[in-house]
């Protein structure tokens, strides 16, 4: 093979390889990316059963209910609608009433959102970005004060 042919074959090989990787990545993005919803979005949207999503909003006041064991129930609200969530595990340090939260999981058959992870703010000044922006868009944003 000449130098040019050799180079072309290397480039062709690399392209095939990259093509495969791209295909895999695009497939994975379709399958594995999870969409973010606020409770009000859910009222309008129809989700396929078992679809994993991220649900964000504020922890509704007076809804945190600790069961006997490790189950915790609470509701996530955007001041319009609210969604019941059940979570088994340790809540993040900054999980509190009326604070921003993102939960990830899927809806159970009874319409309760079964979360397998709950993320709260990283410290007292910052709210999860998606939640803050959605709340601002809805006009229910309040600057958090240092409690």
């Amino acid at each position: 093979m000449t130098r040019k042919q050799k180079r072309l074959s290397v480039i062709a090989g690399a392209m095939v390889f990259l093509g495969l990787a791209t295909g895999l990545a695009v497939f994975a993005l379709g399958q594995k990316a999870s969409y973010f919803y606020m409770p009000a979005d859910l009222a309008a949207a129809t989700l396929p059963a078992g679809q994993r999503i991220r649900l964000g909003g504020l922890v509704e006041k007076g809804t945190i209910l600790r069961g006997q064991g490790t189950d915790v129930r609470f509701a996530v609200t955007d001041m319009e609608n609210s969604v019941k969530v059940v979570f088994n595990g340790i809540l993040p340090d900054l999980f509190r009433e009326e604070q921003g939260v993102i939960t990830e999981g899927k809806f159970g058959a009874d319409g309760v959102f079964v979360a397998d992870s709950v993320l709260a703010k990283h410290d007292e000044t910052y709210m999860p970005k998606e939640v803050a922006e959605s709340l601002k868009a809805r006009g229910v944003w309040q600057e958090t004060t240092n409690e």
């Binding site: 969409y35 600790r66 006997q68 064991g69 088994n88 340090d93 007292e124």
Partner: protein, 664 residues
């Protein structure tokens, strides 16, 4: 006064960086020796001035001078001294100052130790370093001034984010930045070569130590960050595929590719253009990482504050440097000339394959990291791309790469014999199979994938050792000369062996922790016990403790064997920092050989029980030990004689490369 001195020093450093950007470059362009010689002293003075500014800020922190806004926002008089000092870079302004300090540090190193470089190359490299320095110093001065004063000075500070009040902050950011920013030197070398329009094997030899140093630091920085997140966040994970982690991982992947392609360039004068491109891309990814972390486009522990002007400013720097260097590359790369030829089955071929896998993996991580931002920019949807995506895409790319790693160093340059290499690796292969069978027979009959993973780790470790043994002459030299032959091997051979061996060790740790671990969540009262992987964990007591600037509820657990004898104690606690009104979780970790028992506390239930999450993490410490071994490998390679003494000057180079081409 001292604070103003620091501020003034920073302004002077900016002015000097402008001089450094222009004068040596013009000198190189017009062949003016005196102008070129300006670069060195200016770079060293720039370091001195930046260090002065940094010291001024550090002293303000140590003294708790709350008249400095930055100190007031991020410190507290009751904080332990170590965290006062490390708090200097535990915030946006301070961490950018650290970034620039390290940048000028590398510039000064090139100035001080680059005496064997051709004058024009050195001048150009320093000029490019000057551009980067000028851009980031301007960024600090214009948008992130750490020296702004508060009048009147508050009595007390607002304290540092408690998550950052940890020894991790003393180690992780400096190491990470030494890696991130260290790649700026490779970038400068690449751009300087493009400006010069000349590049050869000697260039690779000059640029290689910087790549090695940056890579070693970055490896350590990422590993340290991973361990810190593991014990501090209380989630029991060591890697979350968080965008900020990816931001540091992408330069590492690209840097690893660069490290390998530079070998081909140095030894065989091939892959020149590709190596240049990788050097540019690696630092571009570092810049992208800085942008992602510092601009506030992402939510994370690292996004200290979101200020849109900062984001736009860094984006402008990013576009300027990446766009500019790639344009220069596009214009000049063709003129650099082709390199040596090689057969696909050869050391070069193996290294090309390595590069193909690593760059594709980098692209995958890049796609997963940026995709949410892209989707958000073009639609109303907001998505997140997490571990499932990366497991599906990154995993399949890494496995074949790890399988071929042991072959690479054993293949001959130019044209290798795959069959012969495979025969030499039979022992490593047999050991890997044995390890797999052992896992299947003695641990878990159904864990086929996990067994393959363990086999892969063992294959990497013994593959690396096989290479070392063969190079020392095991099997064809008499046994008595082996020690002296081993001692006579170049350090870079040990470096390669250690790095590949470390990769195997890390693989074992990842597979062990992910596949054979167990996890349970339960509510426990003091006095209750639970059993975890053959031992009993007893919740002894819950006691309140008062720290310097926090209070904590500490749960003490005893670990007992089957006879009920206590052989270890684990303390896990919930802390509360009153200044920030912020609770943190301090996980309790017991280390048994390479495995760890990890206990994290949750809230109390109405019945007075405490929610406890317990993980058994087999072999988990190997993940970070492996990274340490890799880092050591990089450092050992860096001490190679060839890089210290053998770096040729341009006059000696021509006959030297001709000789290189003949000797395989």
């Amino acid at each position: 006064m001292m604070v103003e001195t620091g501020h003034f020093a920073l302004v002077l450093a900016f002015a000097l960086s402008l001089v450094q950007s222009v004068v040596p470059l013009a000198g190189a362009r017009f062949g003016n020796q005196r102008m070129m010689a300006v670069g060195g002293p200016v770079a060293i003075t720039g370091l001195a001035l930046t260090a002065l500014a940094f010291a001024a800020l550090t002293v303000s922190y140590a003294r708790s001078d709350f008249s400095v806004a930055n100190v007031w926002e991020n410190s507290h008089s009751l904080k332990p001294l170590l965290f006062k000092i490390t708090g200097t870079w535990g915030n946006h302004e301070g961490s950018m100052l650290l970034w620039v300090l390290i940048l000028t540090f590398f510039g000064a190193l090139v100035a001080a130790f680059g005496n064997n470089l051709p004058a024009t190359l050195k001048a150009n490299v320093l000029a490019v370093q000057g551009w980067i320095g000028a851009a980031f110093l301007l960024f600090i001065l214009a948008t992130s001034n750490p020296f702004a004063r508060l009048v009147p000075a508050p009595m007390e500070g607002r304290d540092l984010n408690p998550i950052l009040q940890d020894i991790g902050l003393a180690i992780h950011p400096p190491l990470l930045y030494l890696g991130y920013v260290g790649f700026s030197v490779c970038f400068s070398f690449a751009v300087a070569a493009l400006i010069d329009g000349r590049i050869d094997a000697a260039w690779a030899r000059w640029a290689r130590p910087w790549t090695l140093a940056a890579w070693s630091f970055l490896t350590g920085g990422i590993a340290m960050g991973s361990y810190w997140a593991y014990y501090e966040l209380g989630w029991g994970g060591f890697w979350f595929w968080d965008p900020v982690e990816n931001a540091s991982f992408m330069p590492w992947l690209a840097g690893t590719a660069l490290l390998h392609s530079a070998i081909v360039m140095e030894r065989r004068a091939a892959l020149k253009i590709w190596t240049l491109l990788l050097a540019i891309l690696t630092f571009s990814l570092s810049l992208l990482g800085t942008f992602l972390v510092r601009s506030g486009v992402l939510t994370s522990v690292h996004a200290f504050a979101s200020d849109p002007t900062r984001g736009v400013f860094i984006l402008a720097i990013l576009s300027l440097f990446i766009g500019g260097s790639l344009t220069l590359f596009a214009v000049r790369a063709q003129s650099l000339g082709a390199g040596g030829l090689f057969h696909p089955v050869s050391r070069e071929g193996a290294l090309v394959l390595n590069n193909l896998f690593l760059t594709t993996a980098t692209a995958t991580v890049l796609l997963g990291t940026l995709y949410p931002l892209i989707v958000e920019a073009f639609s109303a949807d907001r998505i997140s791309v997490g571990a499932p995506f990366f497991n599906l895409t990154f995993g399949p790319l890494m496995v074949p790469l790890l399988v071929i790693v042991p072959f690479g160093p054993l293949l001959a340059w130019k044209r290798g014999d795959l069959l012969a290499v495979a025969q030499r690796l039979w022992a490593a292969f047999a050991l890997a199979i044995l390890a797999m069978l052992a896992v299947l027979l003695f641990v878990d009959r159904l864990a086929v994938l996990a067994a393959l993973g363990i086999g892969l780790g063992v294959w990497l470790i013994f593959g690396a050792l096989t290479d070392l043994a063969l190079k020392a002459g095991v099997g064809h030299a008499p046994a008595r000369v082996l020690p002296s032959r081993l001692a006579g091997l170049p350090r870079s051979v040990f470096g390669t062996t250690l790095a590949h061996l470390g990769l195997g060790v890390t693989t074992l740790g990842i597979v062990g922790a992910l596949s054979f671990g167990s996890e349970s969540i339960l509510a426990m009262k003091p006095g209750e016990s639970t059993s975890v992987s053959g031992v009993t964990l007893r919740f002894e007591r819950l006691e309140p403790v008062k720290g310097p600037n926090y209070t904590e509820n500490r749960a003490v657990f005893s670990v007992r064997d089957t006879d009920g004898d206590v052989f270890a104690e684990i303390e896990s606690s919930k802390r509360f920092y009153p200044v920030r009104q912020m609770p943190t979780t301090e996980a309790g970790i017991g280390t048994f050989m390479f495995s760890q028992l990890y206990v994290s506390l949750g809230d109390e239930t109405p019945d007075g029980e405490v929610v406890v999450r317990i993980w058994w993490k087999p072999l988990v410490t190997l993940i970070w030990l492996g990274a340490l071994v890799m880092m050591t490998g990089g450092a050992v390679s860096l001490c190679d004689r060839r890089l210290r003494i053998g770096a040729p000057s341009r006059r000696q180079r021509r006959p030297a490369t001709a000789a290189d081409a003949v000797v395989p």
